[in-house]
Each structure stands twice: as structure tokens, then as C-alpha cells.
């Protein structure tokens, strides 16, 4: 079972390593981890996607809370959320395939951000399903390289974590 945790931490050096080390030390699996500063420059937000049963999730949450630099841990999996991830996909392209790729990109409301004689780079934003779908379609042309940011998420409506 997948869970999405929003973790507010002190924006200080070493915090990311404390958090990621905790996961590996205790044998919890991270699917993705995205981190960036929040509206308060002293606080960073980590969005961590983990899988495991309720017992594992409870332990992850409690262990994270024990870190002095962790301010708050919220499991937002149960809430209505807006979730986004950004991926950059460098796909093999030549004159014969370029237009077909552009069509796919359009359907997904993705963007071409770089073009070269033998490749194109696509920027796509969306939830996990959307990114996986476009990746699947582009694979036939040959994906040379891909980078994903990992998911970030906010709860819908006025509620904050």
C-alpha cells in the first residue's frame, strides 16, 4: 500500500541525510522523495512516497517525528490532494518520427523544451499515471534519458498540513 507523507523540516544542512538515512537504517522503502523550501524560508517540505502496511507507516511516522529537525509529519494519502510530478524525457527523434512525437506530446499537454537533429526533450507534468502513460507511448521511439522530480502534493481546499 502506498502512502504520501508531507514532512515539514528545518531548512538546514544535514536534514535530508538524516531523513533518508532513517529510511534505509530501519528498512523502509522510499518510492520517491521530493524536497524544496516552503512559504517560510526556514522550513522545507519533503514529500515522501512510501509503501508498506499500516504498521510500517506508523513506525515511519513515529521515527520521523523523533528527529529533532522534523517539525511535522502528515499522511495526506487519505485527503483529497493535488499531486504533481515533473519529468524530462529525452526521446530519439528524426524527421520520420518527429511529428508523431509532437502529436503525443500535444495530447498529453506536455511540452517540447529542446530539439536536436536526433532527439527531442519533452517536459511533462502531472500525476504518476499520466507520466507513466506518456513514457510508455514514447518508449517505442527510444527513450535516451529520463529524469523525474518525484511527487509533490498539497491538500485541496483551505486546509494546510
Amino acid at each position: 500500500m502506498k502512502h504520501t507523507l508531507a514532512v515539514l523540516v528545518e531548512n538546514k544542512s544535514g536534514v535530508l541525510s538524516r531523513v533518508s538515512a532513517l529510511f534505509s537504517r530501519r528498512g523502509y522503502n522510499i518510492d520517491s522523495l521530493a524536497v524544496g523550501v516552503t512559504e517560510d524560508p526556514e522550513i522545507s517540505r519533503m514529500t515522501i512516497v512510501v509503501h508498506g502496511d499500516d504498521h510500517v507507516l506508523e513506525q515511519v511516522t513515529k521515527q520521523l517525528n523523533k528527529l529533532v529537525d522534523v517539525i511535522k509529519v502528515s499522511d495526506i494519502g487519505g485527503d483529497e490532494t493535488v499531486e504533481r510530478e515533473l519529468a524530462l524525457i529525452k526521446v530519439a527523434a528524426d524527421a520520420s518520427t518527429r511529428s508523431e512525437i509532437i502529436q503525443i506530446v500535444d495530447i498529453f499537454r506536455a511540452r517540447i523544451v529542446d530539439v536536436a537533429p536526433k532527439s527531442m526533450t519533452v517536459e511533462v507534468t502531472g500525476d504518476e499515471a499520466k507520466i507513466e502513460a506518456i513514457e510508455k507511448l514514447l518508449r517505442q521511439f527510444g527513450i535516451k534519458e529520463m529524469a523525474r522530480t518525484g511527487k509533490i502534493a498539497l491538500v485541496r481546499g483551505p486546509k494546510k498540513v
Binding site: 544535514g14 541525510s17 504498521h55 513506525q59 517525528n65 528527529l67 529533532v68 522534523v70 517539525i71
Partner: protein, 588 residues
């Protein structure tokens, strides 16, 4: 200087002022290149510094000091090898939730990351074994950081905190100002238990016919012994303790059933297994305690009182968790409970106590049994603080000494660190000079930090080490005997050293006992000498610690050749059980 005003000082001097503000009077340490500025300022200060002979000993001494006094212990080392030598001591304190602050020198900030001479990433290295740690980048932050470090180390679930101090930070001038408050939005331990939960616990207790209280080190660190005993007496419940919980209730209290788990008393383990309610206080259901989890106390509901929410339901499913300080929670729980009649239950336990007492047999009249030595220490030094090393002697010290008060049994439980006892005893004696402090040691363990005889002699710290010399790394030998077909691979250490001469070489008193009649006089002579002393006792070489629950077995599957054969959970045939267990061990 008092809090509030400011004064220009360098970082090193600031650090000393911070320590004074925290009420520190003694620190344990060892100097080196990157911590010289601190030592330079220390030269002019009133802080007592105990110079050890190995940094590991500084950490253990700070730990022993903390456990004996309840205050936060402090140790200091230089960067690189000095800092890495602290690691075992820090890990030991972490596993047993002991408040210490470790101060380490570090290469100057502009060299960090350069693989500079004697640079080690000690904050990285100690991340998993500290409650928190700091690399000070700016001397102006030092007072705040020290304040936070002491706060974090000593509150909530206590533990070690490390502060890494680059040399340039120690030299930098700052306006010294000691904050009087800490602001840590990510650290707010809960102390007061939830009243609703406490009431539910009281109900649960009222409905139980066979309750047992299971007390751990948390009872001692929160100074909750009186409340614990009150709870036990009010509801007439038996009390078992973990290794670290020993001393939270007097050994001779009629409700005490001894330690549970791997080397616990049979009656404690039977009582836990049959109980219908476990009241766990400041204990964490460690694998040495529960044995095979699936078979642990199958009929029991569980109340778990702990300051660390992450311990709740970590290993055993808890029905009523109460997060907070053991003392406060027990205090308020005691208001809601009333006497409940466990007459039949207590009778049953008393019957077990009589039927399966902790015992040992004298193999021949001239041989000194190790258990006998502990009994002699118990009679000769009733109010002593007992510190131990790790091995068979540690378990015998847990089983056969009669403890009267909390903080009188000091041992490395979670990490099981050989070499802990002697330096920890030195720390305990420095913290409690009024007490007799005895280190019960094995011949193997003592050799791991015997260089600290120099520390004890130089600083005139009269600690007595009683070495149970069995010529073996006895605990490992016991496992080899029971589970590895008596193949004593590399556990024979007889004749390593003449411990009497070793003591004398350092200027300490050395005594030896080779016959049972010599034990008591030697112990008394050592204690009365007022000097650091070593008593080497030549004990039966193949004595085993029993009862024993083999690793991975249920805690009522007990090996005990000393006990009676007609146990309710009949004693398994030793050889057969051994064969089984070997398979089991290999699977794990």
C-alpha cells in the same frame, strides 16, 4: 557571569561558560590537536577534568556518571581518531537511553571536506547512534547549541548528543550570552499522560485477575520507583524487570519476581506467559525479553507506559498506550486504582518461586562458584553501586546481588558492550564518591579497558573490580557448549595476564582469591583499602548461566539443568533442544 549580560570571549571559553551554566562540574576526556583551544581554557577553569587513557573510556565514564547520578554526563575528545574512539561509548549510551553530551574537536571549517589531517565526519558517523548532533559552523551559535544539546540529552527519552567543534570556531571571538530558553519546534516530548487513557488503564487493571508489572530502565531514568512500588502494592501485582529495570524495586520485595527473558527467573517468565494483563512501564519488549514474539504472553492485554511514542506497538501489540513520563503517569494512575484481589494469582507465583528458585550447584568444595562470589559481594557491600562488564558474570550479577535502590545496578544492556564496566564504574564513583562502587568483571571484558587503572590511580578514584576469572569468554563458550557441540573456537583466554601484577603495575591494589574461604576477606580488604583495587577470583571455568531461554524460543521453553525436572512446561531434553536450536539459529 549571569545569564542576560554579554561578554567578549572566544568559542572555547564560551563553551566552558556554557558547561558551567548547565551545572556541569566534571568532564571526562582526552586532548588532541583540534581540541587544544578548549583544553587551553579548561586550564584556568574550575571544571574537574578526569583524564582517561582511551576516549572510549571517557564516553563510558560519562555514561556511568549519568546513570549513577541522574545528571547529564560529559565527555570530550579531539577530532578524527579521538572522536571515532568515542563511538562505542556513544552507541552504548544511545541503546540504553543515557543522557550524555559528547564534545569533539574538528578540523577548521575551511578544511572540512578536504580529508584534512585527523578529519572524520563524526556527525555523519554518529547520526544513527545519537539522539541529535551538531556541527558548529559559527561560534555565535555555540551557546544556543549547547543549551539545546543539554536539553535534548536529558529530556523526553534521554540519550547522547554530540557537538562537533571546528578549531576556528573554538578560537573565534563572540559576545557571550547564554539563552535561558530553548526554542525547538521539532522537539516537544510529552510528559503528562492522557487522562482518558489512564482511566482506561485503571479499568483494565480492575478487570484483571492475573496482572504483572513489567518495569524497564525508563522507571529508573524517570525516578519513578516509589510510584511503581505503590502501584504494585496497591493492586498486589507481581513485578518483573528488564536488565535495565533492576533496582526499580528492591530484589527482596515480596512482589518482585526477578528479571524476565533469556536469563530471567523461571517464575518471572512463567508469570508473564500466564498473565492476563501486562503493565509495561519504561520498557521496550526487546527480543532478549520477549523471546519468540508469536508465543509471548498469549493471553495478555497490554498497557504500555513510555515516553517514546515510537516504542508503542513496535514489537508487541499494545491495547492501552499511555505516552509520557513514567513518574507522572504512575502518580496519576495510582489515584484511580484500587486494591484488587490477586490472592490466587500470587499464591501460584509463590508456589513457582519455591519450586524453581534461582540456584546453582557447588561442583566441588574447593572450587569457587561464580554465583557464590556475587552472593559474597551482596553480603559484604549491601549498599554498593554495582557496575558490570558483559558476559556470564553480568547475568550472575543481575541474578544474585540483592539490590535495594534504583541507580545501584549499572550495566550495558542494549548494546552489551564488553569494556563498559570499568570506565563506567569510574564515572559512577566520581558522581557518587559517598558510595562503594564495585565493577563485576569477566577476565575477557576487563582486558578491553584495563588501561583505565591508570585513570583510577592518577585521579585517586577507589573503584573495586572483582574479576570472575573463568579463563574463557564465558558467555560465548556457553553458547558453543550448548548449541555448537562444545567446539570452543577461540574462546579460551586462560593465562592472558596476571591480574594482580597488572593492578600493581599501575599502582593499584591487587588481590587474588583461589578458595571459597578467601573470597569474602579479599573483597573486604579491597573495599576497605580506599584505593583502586582489583580482586581476581579464580572461578569454576565451565559454569553456565541458567535458566536460559534459547534465542528464538518462547520464554517458557527454558533450559535449566539446575532446576527440577517436573516443570509445568517440562524441561526439554538438553541435547535434543540443542539440536533443534542450532537449526533454528541457522535459520535466523
Amino acid at each position: 557571569m549571569t545569564t542576560g549580560s554579554t561578554e567578549k570571549v572566544n568559542g572555547a571559553r564560551a563553551l566552558i561558560k556554557c558547561l558551567e551554566e548547565e551545572g556541569v562540574d566534571t568532564i571526562f576526556g582526552y586532548p588532541g590537536g583540534q581540541i587544544i583551544p578548549f583544553y587551553n581554557e579548561l586550564y584556568d577553569s574550575n571544571l574537574r577534568h578526569i583524564l582517561v587513557r582511551h576516549e572510549q573510556a571517557a564516553a563510558h565514564a560519562a555514561d556511568g556518571y549519568a546513570r549513577a547520578t541522574g545528571k547529564t554526563g560529559v565527555c570530550v575528545s579531539t577530532s578524527g581518531p579521538g572522536a571515532t574512539n568515542l563511538v562505542t561509548g556513544i552507541a552504548t549510551a544511545y541503546m540504553d537511553s543515557v543522557p550524555i553530551v559528547a564534545l569533539t574537536g574538528q578540523v577548521p571549517t575551511f578544511l572540512i571536506g578536504n580529508d584534512a589531517f585527523q578529519e572524520a565526519d563524526i556527525t555523519g558517523i554518529t547520526q544513527p547512534i545519537t539522539k541529535h548532533n551538531y556541527l558548529v559552523q559559527d561560534a555565535n551559535e555555540l551557546p544556543r547549541i549547547v543549551k539545546e544539546a543539554f536539553h535534548i540529552a536529558s529530556t523526553g527519552r534521554p540519550g547522547p548528543v554530540l557537538i562537533d567543534l571546528p578549531k576556528d570556531v573554538q578560537n573565534a571571538e563572540i559576545d557571550f550570552y547564554y539563552p535561558d530558553k530553548v526554542e525547538l519546534r521539532g522537539y516537544k516530548p510529552t510528559y503528562k499522560g492522557n487522562t482518558q487513557q489512564i482511566k482506561r488503564a485503571a479499568e483494565e487493571i480492575a478487570n484483571s485477575c492475573m496482572p504483572i508489572i513489567y518495569a524497564g530502565g525508563g522507571v529508573i531514568s524517570s525516578n519513578a520507583s516509589a510510584e511503581l512500588v505503590e502501584l504494585a502494592e496497591t493492586i498486589s501485582a507481581p513485578v518483573t524487570t528488564t536488565l535495565l529495570g533492576i533496582g526499580s524495586i528492591p530484589t527482596e520485595h515480596p512482589l518482585y519476581v526477578g528479571m524476565l527473558g533469556m536469563h530471567g527467573s523461571k517464575y518471572a517468565n512463567y508469570a508473564v506467559q500466564e498473565s492476563d494483563l501486562i503493565i509495561a512501564v519504561g520498557a521496550r519488549f526487546d527480543d532478549r525479553v520477549t523471546g519468540k514474539l508469536e508465543s509471548f504472553a498469549p493471553n495478555a492485554r497490554v498497557i504500555h507506559i513510555d515516553v517514546d511514542p515510537a516504542e508503542i506497538s513496535k514489537n508487541v501489540k499494545v491495547h492501552i498506550p499511555i505516552v509520557g513520563d513514567a513518574k507522572q503517569i504512575l502518580k496519576s494512575l495510582n489515584k484511580y486504582i484500587r486494591c484488587c484481589n490477586s490472592g490466587a494469582w500470587l499464591e501460584k507465583i509463590d508456589h513457582w518461586k519455591k519450586e524453581y528458585p534461582l540456584s546453582y550447584s557447588q561442583v566441588s568444595p574447593d572450587v569457587i562458584m561464580p554465583q557464590f562470589v556475587i552472593e559474597q559481594i551482596s553480603e559484604a557491600c549491601r549498599d554498593a553501586i554495582i557496575v558490570t562488564e558483559v558476559g556470564q558474570h553480568q547475568m550472575w550479577a543481575a541474578q544474585f546481588f540483592k539490590y535495594k535502590k534504583p541507580r545501584t545496578f549499572i550495566t550495558s544492556g542494549g548494546l552489551g558492550t564488553m569494556g563498559y564496566g570499568f570506565p563506567a564504574a569510574i564515572g559512577a564513583k566520581v558522581g557518587r564518591p559517598d558510595k562503594t562502587v564495585i565493577n563485576i568483571a569477566g577476565d575477557g571484558s576487563f582486558q578491553m579497558n584495563s588501561q583505565e587503572l591508570a585513570t583510577a590511580v592518577q585521579n585517586d578514584i577507589p573503584v573495586v573490580s572483582v574479576i570472575l576469572n573463568n579463563g574463557y569468554l564465558g558467555m560465548v563458550r556457553q553458547w558453543q557448549e550448548l548449541f555448537y557441540d562444545r567446539r570452543y573456537s577461540h574462546t579460551f583466554i586462560k593465562g592472558s595476564v596476571d591480574f594482580v601484577k597488572l593492578a600493581e603495575a599501575y599502582g593499584a591494589l591487587g588481590l587474588r582469591a583461589e578458595k571459597p574461604s578467601e573470597v569474602r576477606p579479599a573483597i573486604e580488604e579491597a573495599v576497605n583499602s580506599g584505593r583502586p583495587a582489583v580482586v581476581e577470583v579464580i572461578v569454576e571455568c565451565e559454569a553456565n548461566v541458567y535458566p536460559m531461554v534459547p534465542a528464538g524460543a518462547a520464554i517458557n521453553e527454558i533450559l535449566d539443568p539446575e532446576g527440577h525436572a517436573d516443570t509445568p512446561c517440562a524441561m526439554p531434553d538438553l541435547r535434543a533442544a540443542t539440536a533443534d536450536r542450532v537449526l533454528d539459529l541457522e535459520e535466523h
